[in-house]
């Protein structure tokens, strides 16, 4: 009987997670090259309900709402011209590669600058790599041809924060680099806001389901067995 309480509660936790992800998407509505996350929800551990008297099967009942893993939605964002010579955008699939202290990481954020050593670096100072994995020198005139930047194909892209991804990379993705432009965040404000409203109402429905079950349990614990058969 109290199974329902836990099913609804797990649904509330799942909606809270969805809401947190949508909030993160909105917070990154201005982050260049940002890709929204989505997590699927699925039913978990169904059990077969049966009539205890006759043994006839009633049907299956899920015992939980489970999170089904997070996927990154790689749909491209709009490419916005900035006029800055060290801004780059990839039109089509692919990632820029940067060498960080923790190894090579991949990004769609092409807002780069120069280091004191005259290399092309990202905002955190990590060198940007060419197609062969070597750093790129910025000539004295301060511009780098778009073709100098390596574009890598990334399998199993996983998010690291700081606009970086990890995954299994191979050089030579199909995307082409444009200089003087940035890829805007792929967050769709309208869709994200609608998703937040949806998560909010599901959360509320599940809360009401818990309250309804609680009322049933209250009735069961206070009214069943009382001599006048009701009213407590």
């Amino acid at each position: 009987m109290d199974l329902g309480l836990y099913i609804a509660a797990s649904g509330m936790v799942a909606e809270q997670t969805r809401q947190d992800q949508l909030t993160n998407d909105l917070a990154n509505a201005m982050t260049p090259g940002y890709k929204p996350l989505s997590t699927s929800q699925r039913s978990f551990g169904s059990i077969l309900m049966s009539n205890t008297r006759t043994g006839a099967a009633i049907g299956s009942l899920s015992t939980n709402v489970a999170l089904g893993g997070t996927t990154v939605n790689m749909a491209p964002g709009a490419i916005r011209s900035t006029g800055q010579p060290l801004d780059f955008a990839i039109s089509g699939p692919g990632f820029f590669a940067v060498r960080t202290a923790g190894g090579v990481r991949y990004t769609r954020d092409g807002q780069f600058t120069t280091s004191a050593q005259g290399q092309l670096v990202d905002a955190a100072g990590n060198p940007v790599l060419d197609g062969r994995g070597a750093p790129i020198a910025v000539p004295a005139k301060g511009t780098v041809p778009a073709a100098a930047l390596g574009v890598y194909e990334l399998k199993g892209a996983s998010r690291q924060g700081e606009n970086l991804f990890t995954g299994a990379a191979t050089a030579g993705a199909a995307g082409t680099v444009r200089s003087g432009a940035l890829e805007a965040s792929s967050v769709d404000a309208a869709r994200t806001t609608a998703g937040m409203m949806g998560a909010l109402s599901s959360f509320q429905s599940e809360q009401q389901a818990i309250q309804a079950i609680d009322q049933t349990l209250t009735a069961a614990s206070t009214q069943v067995g009382s001599l006048n058969g009701g009213g407590g």
Partner: protein, 244 residues
Amino acid sequence: MLEGLYSAAAGMSAQQEQLDAIGNDLANESTTGYKSERFGFRDLLYSQVEQVGTTSATVGAGAGGQVIGRDGSQGAIQQTGDPLDLAIEGEGYFQVKRPGGQISLTRGGAFGVDASGQLTAHDGSLLSPPITIPRGVSAGEVSIAQDGTVSAHGRRLGQIALVTVASPDHLLADGAGGLSVTAASGPTRPVSGAHIVQGALESSNVDLAGEMSQMMITQRAFQLTSTAIHTQAQMLSIANQLRA
């Protein structure tokens, strides 16, 4: 449970920082030689939310922002007619020595002459290396060539050196209209290919229309992220009403 509130707040504060950078650009729209700021957003750390017996979900901590550097594009060169107004066409900076002795780089080229005849910036900083205008020579008689050679009546008085660094984006604004060299910017080196225009000043390169539209976009994003806080607060209140 409260993570969502904080990631929305982080996003709002990053957007607030961009509004500040835009405000700074707008305030310096008529500052000689000012270069507008390049602002960048980034996402923050991700954590795994575990739910019993299931695969985990990834939840991010919001957004951060930072000034990446400056827009290096040339500002418009405006004729002023003052012989000691100098504009740089191309890359590079004038070097001035502050009263405290530290070297500062600037593209604001409104120079004057102090009591001892030395060329100084508007705040009294000496041009470095110093150039002295001899007594009896008026400002109007000083001619400054494109390569920075200063002469009067055919006599060479010195040369104004233009310098730059490997990474101008990492120069630090010193709050007195100049920029100071940092470890990340690299040391100064002479500039080639730039020249000096006498009797003119370089306007700021702030693009008013671009700044205003960016400000509107950022304000909208700020507003949207604040609705996320509101929604998160509603969810907390619903959870609180479970035992109503």
